[in-house]
Symmetry: D2
Subunit: 383 residues, 4 copies
């Protein structure tokens, strides 16, 4: 899928080394403890893995988008979906917004430490009463001259408790009048409530945040006031595309594991891989995986060439891979028999973790809404 | 689905009362503790819920098979898959064998206390090297005159650690030469190793059992020696049928919950249940649920009338409901959005728990093998 | 599926004899000629096959609803979907309405000759601009005192050209104000335009009908004036249920044929039925077929007991079987390889014919709308 | 999907003009007559459309493989599957073999006139007793010194009756010992029997061929004697890849047509395209279409770069598109309601025509066998 340059290969190799040494041996433990190992952000920031495709002036390496694909792909492949999700919700949710819209000062104070792993970031949109329907959110920011006063609550916020700051989406008027604020999570008036038991993403921190008269200075407004809704809608292509990447690599993890297993495991005097019904199942899994990689690769190439004009294609890649990866992983469990049901063997985890992909970053239903707008109503996104 | 008599209704009502009072309030806790609440066996035995369709002379109530359907259905509907699985692996795996094949003494010593909940039972077939392929098992029972000497190991045994005894399937000769033994789990030479982390069935005990020169007196042979394999093959119809029941009721639980949710939850200024795409999804879920209940109900009726002659139909009901229930539950999660991903709301649990049904009690692939034999090779099961 | 009585068996035997002698040998020819063999109506009327479950006073045999199931099932099983469709559109579309609503004179003039096969009937609802949306139809009947003057057009009307009369749905006021009229197709002012090339149902007559100032005497009003819409909505349960029956038997035809084929055909030195991947496919087909039969049988039983209260279940059986039968037949073609693609072997025909079932008698989307009303909005149908 | 050069655009434009002028207006007639309009070969040869990617010395234009993609894509998009199939079975089944293996004389006598449309060609592999199992074929070629004597029969041969010559696969020894012969169909001893009624491909000629002591001069051996089986296995990548192209464009035809229809058609006071359930269906169709195009485009790019090393990927593209195109087309019919069932509207045809793609050029099951060899057994194809 990836047109590797030498630089890409070097990135991949060093990242693999790092992961195998520092991360892989501890995954099972962190997962059981249901902790997000926040220290990894710093370690990854030090190695430059956060900022691969960010500007060098803020600590990035200014590589192309494929480098982000490599980072998210490799992370996804080690089957550590929770932390991968945290890393993703840090690196590719709030940071692209700051990078695109931030003032120099904001970039120095938030983007740079985030790329170095010194600060952990999140993006806080969802509320108890408004998820898919972003326009329905209620957390209010009142203009008090030099600052905003924020009241309301957010939920399901990745990195909400372990994070240092979030890009907070607030209502500053009726309907689509919203404003993005850079909010330090240590500010007074913020209460954090971690949601500890989730189906998956165990090593990720998902939290509720309550805002009670939280003061946010005006200089922390990201981009222009009142334009937050549009900023959001226009800066989620990397997010969705990288979720397709994560889904594809998670499916490949499950597939590769299964391929090894069926060649070893025996039943009825044969290797499982000699049973025709299972061979055909493997062939179908491989075909679906190829479709995931092809649809994702095609979308990435268009994104690199045409930016937001790739939105329709990216949306399709997101829904397709989220749903198809689950089918592949489900078959992977099946082919492992009882062993597939035991956490230790890792397939249970990837199945639980990937289930989120049809819900988060825009549910499959919302993807269908968007695709419908492009296909039927002829909406066109500019480059 | 069920042609309720008044007796059935009474059973259902009292069981519901019992569950709501004694069980439901504690489920979340037990699940988190990953404990099988073994004390429930005794409580349920006292109330007569274990023995509903067993002979009264051993503590049962001698009701018809629909009573078993009611018990397993109600249990399944409270979304406590782990314990339900333990109860099932006690009541409908080893006990039908003892009931069918046991001597009077065996019934007094094992069946009766098991029906009263004084002893917890299991059925131990699977080994590390032999699951689907029962004929490949290796745990050996050597004939030592008045007793057997058992060596080997079993894995994935439900109730293996909390249980008092198992029906143990042992090899007593080549190929299909196997013998069923009633083995007290307190016997010396037995080591138990609980498998703690599973995808689902958290409140069920699944264990490995190691047998090192375990002595089993000849009077503990169940049925005739060397005929174990055939006994097994001929006594799994209740087991499979009740798994179809469990799957159908688990799907109904998820469906009912979703129906309530979409009528309350709002997005984009409407109730979710006013969005046509979701209405159609609900309709599809309802249709699949109807198919689950119809195929199961039809199989039950045939089983009651024709016994083992219903095998082909039961096998189809088992594979169909196990796979279709997962589709329904998957949609249920989806329609709940982020909330579907949080354990507290219960859908995550039922999704994890039901995943086992395509693997356990004969995997879907093994079901296809069996159906193929009936359909293609014209195998016929006698009444 | 059917709880056969001796009377049922006799009906089935005699019908099979009749079909094998008079119909089966000519099917291929009729299909190629794209003719509906109208003479069969008379022959089947003579034998009593039309009126099996109609009152004896109008030529019926007053058997139970299972007899209708047998007739439609046997017809469907001989793979002659076009004529079967014509027969169905005669026997179970207009006639139940006349039977339920007709005056004695109407029954003598229309129902009786129709049951005897002396007249061919149709039901004309669909218009070029209104299919699913029955309330959108425009064909107007103006009240002229002793008669109605009809103007407008209908399309896709089965038996429109070969038929003697239709129950015509006309608009007699705004919105749901419609009136059913018994219209002789020989009336002056009616033009008929057969639609000759259809995907399937080749031996069925599907026609457009144009009404230009057609006079219909008041005595031909069926039921009360202005109530046509409600009559229609309340009298389509037999129609939908029997379509589920037709779908199930068509699937069984394809399945049985495939089972025979895979046991004979060889490839790679084996019978196809020895190839595991195909055995498993067969098992899946058999399982789906069982689900079709179970969901249909369950709906029939409820319909016999509770009449219209079975609507929800019937609707589910209709959508489920229409869609699942296509999957089964599609697999049947696949397992026949190139031969499946040749008309002579009959699978192409059944595939083409059954494709209609998700469109006609209420499309799958309309079924979902209806199921949604029951499940979500709590609509209840009285017995 | 296609990285168009100016040359590609010119080819596409001129071909579209040609098709719109000479072909499209006659398609319905040819289809009804169930004739392959053989004269089109000459017309297309004159315009250079047959030889786009063949060497100029034999009448080709020596463009790249994308030109073949354009030709097959455009043909597929006009919904004339039968002739498209004939054209394909001429241009991309036998001719690549002659181009790769032929002597100068063979190329002058067969390839050149075929590229010019002066001769129509076919590839004859399948026999009544051997389709998927090529190694099981029995048509015998006896070595008589200066010629071969051919006896046996072939079936399902596209262009068998209208064709001038075929590449005939014959048995010249046990097992995989086969020889390819260039056989003039006018040779004495050949009887042709057209198979007239097929599910689809109505405007294609599919025939049985009987060989009774047919003399074939040695100079008509294609490639080396006894190596025919391997030649076949190694020269079918273009064939399979172009079938994926045909499938993708046929699906796009159905999709585009549906998109137009739902925007015009009204029901329940709305355009169909305003109904959410249909919008989501459209989104799913569009997503599947994107996956078809992505998997095919990816395979083409790899084929152009790496030749036969792309086999695994091509095989996946073939099975994926053949099956997915049918799903898309099936939905297209559904969204058209009754109109989808009428031949005149063209969806019935594309549905019937594309059904072949999971059977011909290697069935889906055979694709799975091949993919299994690559994925599981580690078979590697050289560049
Ligand atoms: C582990 C986890 C991490 C998360 N991380 C973050 C984060 O970092 N930041 C953040 O802001 N949010 C986060 N979220 C929230 C996530 O983005 C939302 O859950 C998601 O957007 C869906 O919103 P919802 O849960 O409110 O569902 P709802 O919007 O209530 O949707 C419920 C169902 O209705 C469907 N639906 C909604 N509208 C329509 C429509 N118009 N037509 C058809 N169907 C419709 C949905 O698809 C879904 O199936 C996270 C969630 C989870 C579980
Ligand atoms: C929570 C839990 C509880 C359990 N409880 C019990 C218990 O109480 N007692 C007990 O004895 N066992 C129990 N089991 C074990 C269970 O019955 C086995 O896991 C199951 O039978 C599958 O066997 P296996 O795991 O060895 O898989 P395998 O047999 O190794 O199968 C691996 C894969 O290969 C497939 N396969 C196998 N053979 C074929 C074939 N011929 N053709 C095609 N595909 C094939 C299988 O379907 C599966 O997909 C339990 C398992 C779990 C996870
Ligand atoms: C061979 C044949 C025989 C027939 N015989 C008869 C007969 O004897 N008498 C008779 O009256 N009619 C007959 N019909 C007509 C048939 O009943 C209609 O075709 C059918 O009801 C669908 O209507 P339509 O074709 O107008 O499609 P439309 O109503 O235009 O529907 C187009 C598509 O939109 C979908 N759709 C419509 N409304 C909604 C909605 N609200 N939400 C979501 N999706 C929606 C439909 O499901 C369909 O997919 C026949 C049709 C055929 C092809
Ligand atoms: C319209 C049309 C045009 C054609 N044109 C040509 C042509 O020009 N030249 C030519 O040579 N042939 C042609 N064919 C023949 C076509 O290639 C064969 O039909 C195809 O290869 C399948 O072979 P079969 O029909 O013998 O099916 P079979 O080989 O008998 O297969 C029957 C079923 O068994 C399955 N099967 C077979 N082997 C296995 C296995 N090992 N494991 C699992 N499943 C298996 C198949 O997939 C299929 O589902 C044409 C066919 C048609 C219908």
């Amino acid at each position: 899928m990836i047109p590797y340059t030498q630089e890409h290969r070097m990135l991949q190799d060093s990242l693999r080394d790092f992961l195998n040494k520092e991360v892989v041996p501890n995954i099972d433990r962190w997962e059981k403890e249901k902790t997000c190992p926040a220290q990894l952000f710093k370690m990854m920031g030090d190695q430059g893995y956060i900022g691969v495709n960010y500007p060098s002036e803020y600590g990035g390496s200014e590589m192309d988008f494929w480098s982000a694909v490599i980072v998210m792909g490799e992370l996804s492949y080690i089957n550590f979906g929770g932390f991968t999700g945290s890393f993703y919700a840090h690196t590719y949710l709030p940071l692209p917004l700051i990078n695109a819209l931030g003032t120099e000062k904001q970039k120095q104070n938030y983007l740079k430490p985030a790329l170095l792993g010194d600060k952990i970031a999140g993006l806080a949109i969802t509320e108890p009463g408004a998820g898919s329907d972003v326009a329905g959110l209620k957390t209010k920011a009142e203009d008090k001259g030099d600052h905003y006063l924020v009241n309301g609550s957010k939920t399901f916020i990745t990195n909400g408790t372990i994070g240092d700051f979030v890009v907070l989406v607030t209502r500053t008027g009726p309907k689509h009048d919203m404003t993005l604020l850079l909010v330090d999570l240590a500010s007074s008036g913020i209460t954090k409530n971690p949601i500890t038991d989730k189906l998956g993403w165990h090593s990720s921190d998902t939290s509720q945040l309550f805002f009670d008269n939280v003061k946010v200075p005006k200089e922390n407004v990201l981009g222009e006031e009142h334009k937050g809704f549009y900023y959001l809608m226009n800066n989620i292509q990397e997010e969705r595309l990288l979720m397709a990447v994560m889904a594809s690599y998670a499916a490949r993890f499950a597939y590769d594991k299964t391929l090894r297993y069926v060649k070893e495991r025996e039943a009825f005097g044969k290797r499982l891989s000699d049973l025709q019904a299972l061979r055909h199942k493997i062939a179908d899994m491989a075909t679906k995986l190829e479709a995931c990689e092809a649809i994702t690769g095609t979308a990435i190439r268009e994104f690199i060439e045409n930016g937001s004009a790739a939105t329709n294609r990216i949306t399709k890649a997101k829904i397709y891979t989220a749903e198809t990866a689950m089918e592949i992983i489900n078959d992977a469990i099946q082919l492992h028999g009882g062993v597939g049901y035991i956490e230790e063997f890792g397939l249970a985890r990837v199945w639980r973790d990937v289930r989120l992909f049809s819900i988060g970053a825009g549910s499959s239903e919302i993807m269908r809404e968007i695709i419908g707008k492009f296909e039927i109503d002829g909406v066109v996104h500019e480059k």
